[in-house]
Subunit: 479 residues, 2 copies
């Protein structure tokens, strides 16, 4: 049998009775972590619950990820030892493999979809979603998966996508294969994967929402999640429809994005009014009804937050056109967050009396602390505009060696600040929070601009006592 | 001595050694509750800590409030027994009185400012604040208060008001009296009074933020609050400046308003996509980082939330003009919240195929549950527009007898639903949440429209089983 021989080829052994085969489609930041977590799931006797096959497209990026996993290492560098060890162990016990051969889906009892889907709004126009690649991926599943298998879509999508795009594509392919059009079950359950020091736990130790196309799909999805997620501590929550589950993910990230963006106008007021907005917010957060309030910052980055709020207007435009729903908050949040790094740059520009030929040292280019991920990092917006205004920009980041978006080498030793006009603390990496700034500066006296509450109050006082000007986003001059 | 004889006239006795005299300026929803809470403060031996004088303007409304307090009853009807009893006790033990005689401030060691300050934006124009009455009130304090007294402003104001308006007015008056211009101390500390069943506790059992014009003022303010507020359980938080304290109050309410308004666009999407947004939000709130998320509703009312976000742009326009700060979120929230009742009305309009000559029964006209307060209630916007569209509107509320804003009698017994085309559940008063709807309807089959999650899922199913159409804000048809 073809499927059997493919399994042997991949795993070097026969399938084990009772051990389910799970395929993960897409081995990006989410899929690779998800595949690892599934492979790490153990029965009480310590034996792996699943054989996991990561499936990627047959292109250079896909092949690179496949090779990494097959060599026993996680495809992205991560400070999370738990994650790195889990891949190593799974590779050694040989219950995880990766391949670019889509026939592998033919072995799956369960297929997890972790394929990217982008949304973009150019100059505030209606957000556009290009479903081409995503639909192609769904078509592959419909073409390959065996009858009785379950598809769990984890991709963040415009609410309505599983019902209106995934289900019809799967049906079409099944009919083409001469099979009943409900031979494959469909569910949606979203992840909340967060690269960084708790990367692995962000998959396994976190609340999960899910929903099925029908009761059987929901039940099968629940059964699977129960075997992977720590559901005792993080109970599952079943919703009434896949659209509801898709909506929950988008709403969750939109909420975050909106609350970050809202603080921006207050940062400007705090700076003008000479108050410390961090102190104010800290006081307000004492109220449990207000403890989700966000703080001033450098901006929003990563793959999700900058774009996810656009999935709501996208859904309305694609699936519910006749309702003419407007999304002023979602659109405003995306817009304000994208411009936030420039508000910081403008303030520096003002303090230096122009940026032309000024030397700017940027500490931190990753999109958040303790990661090497630079996707949509606020530093990108900041540095591009600083360069456009004639500044000389030097960057440092303890995690990033080559900044692919700017095709820029990034220093891994703290550069000499003696020629800098301004040092920008852009990311609260521990290395910066723990930096003893004064000895590093030696005789240099650049403006220090703190975008993300990196420097403590004590440090700011110490620096000022040494005659150094320190300013912060969201704080009045000299606070 | 004049002051001594005024005290005797008010309290019918001489001042007691060691018992501080506190004047509360303004006996509205906040001032009356604050005066009551201060009068209720007790030493360990059970004796009152303060003699409290409520001071109102000498006009019909002011005199009515004064007379009520002097008769031993709270000036507003409230379901909170604690509050009503506290006024009664304080009146009996004679440590609270009220007066329209501003000379009473001459007796005060501490004056609490609970004078209203309105902000308004007409058609999205820059918010206007009319300081006339507020300044006059501050002038009265500067004119009357004895040297060494402390003013604590509790009024919600544009951040910068104490520094730029209150302090100068006080100084001016002191100089006019030939006194040192710092003879009166100034502080800001905001309340979070919430009328309803926990009215009294919302003063005493709640986190307090404060700041002083100088260290002495802050210390004196702290000392006073410690003697009134339950600071063991709700620790005080001192901020760096009065402007920071003013900002904290405005930001706190703006955060709430923005998060309510943000859900509005998602309510429309949920209704179009056929999902239950309450269910979705409930699932998301499992995450501690998302537990402040708000739910779909009827709209925003009361004295604070509809307007408070405008204090930020007002502050920028009045005190920090040169900075040109924009407040897109604050302005959008006020706008969206004010139109929220109309979104509900539009959906009913659609369901009924027009409102002309349709009979609408509105259950609940107060701005929130379990209060009789109708200030800026969403029901006002809703009913005015329904009437404008030709509907016949009947209202019920268990707490409101006369709806002053619409000069409308409100029924206190549930009206007969037999002629209603639609019954709108507008406020989650307990009386509605506990209503057994089916027996009340008898043979009537109006559309039931639930704006505020008043009807449980069980109740909705039961009603539908009886052939009654039930729809909700934030839920798809038939959910």
């Amino acid at each position: 049998m073809l499927a059997q021989s493919l399994f042997s080829e991949l795993f070097g052994r026969a399938p084990l009775p009772g051990r389910e085969i799970v395929c993960v489609q897409g081995l990006g930041f989410v899929g690779a972590a998800m595949a690892t977590a599934i492979a790490a799931a153990r029965d009480p006797d310590g034996s792996p619950r699943f054989d996991v096959i990561g499936v990627e497209l047959d292109n250079p990026r896909g092949r690179e990820r496949v090779n990494k996993i097959n060599a026993g290492s996680f495809p992205f560098s991560s400070p999370d030892r738990k994650l790195n060890e889990a891949v190593e162990v799974a590779s050694r016990t040989k219950n995880i493999v990766a391949t670019t051969n889509a026939n592998a889906f033919g072995l799956a009892r369960i297929a997890i979809v972790d394929v990217n889907l982008d949304v973009e709004s150019v100059n505030g126009a209606a957000p556009q979603v290009d479903f081409t690649g995503f639909k192609e991926a769904m078509r592959t599943l419909g073409h390959e998966l065996p009858a009785g298998s379950l598809v769990i879509v984890e991709t963040t999508v415009p609410p309505g996508t599983c019902e209106n795009i995934v289900a019809p594509v799967l049906r079409e392919e099944l009919v083409r294969r001469g099979m009943p059009d409900d031979a494959i079950l469909l569910a949606h359950s979203y992840e909340r994967v967060m690269p960084g020091p708790d990367y692995f736990d962000s998959v396994v130790n976190f609340w999960r929402v899910y929903a099925g196309h029908n009761d059987e799909a929901a039940a099968r999805c629940e059964e699977f999640l129960t075997r992977v997620i720590n559901v005792q501590k993080f109970p599952l929550r079943r919703l009434g429809s896949m659209t509801a589950s898709e909506a929950a993910k988008v709403l969750e990230n939109s909420y975050r994005a909106i609350n970050i963006a809202f603080i921006d106008e207050w940062s400007r007021l705090a700076e003008a009014a000479g108050i410390d907005l961090y102190e104010v917010i800290d006081a307000i957060r004492m109220r449990p009804t207000h403890n989700n309030m966000r703080e001033p910052g450098f901006g929003v980055g990563g793959y999700c937050l900058p774009k996810d709020p656009l999935f709501a207007p996208a859904a309305a435009a694609i699936f519910f056109k006749d309702k003419q729903i407007d999304f002023p908050f979602s659109r405003l949040a995306v817009d304000v967050n994208s411009r936030m790094p420039l508000a910081n740059l403008d303030r520096i520009d003002g303090a230096l009396g122009g940026l032309k030929n000024k030397s700017i040292m940027v500490l931190g280019v990753a999109y958040r602390s303790e990661v090497d991920d630079t996707r949509s990092a606020p530093a990108e917006t900041f540095c591009r505009e600083a360069i456009r205004r004639g500044a000389l920009v030097a960057c440092h980041d303890p995690y990033v060696r080559h900044w692919s978006e700017l095709d820029l080498a990034v220093s891994d030793t703290l550069p000499d600040p003696s020629s800098a006009d301004v040092v920008v603390f852009a990311v609260p990496h521990r290395a910066y929070r723990e930096l003893d700034v004064l000895p590093w500066l030696r005789d240099a006296k650049p403006l220090l601009y703190d975008c993300d509450n990196v420097l403590s109050g004590q440090m700011r006082s110490k620096l000022r006592a040494a005659g150094i000007q320190v300013e912060s986003a969201g704080r009045g001059m000299g606070l």
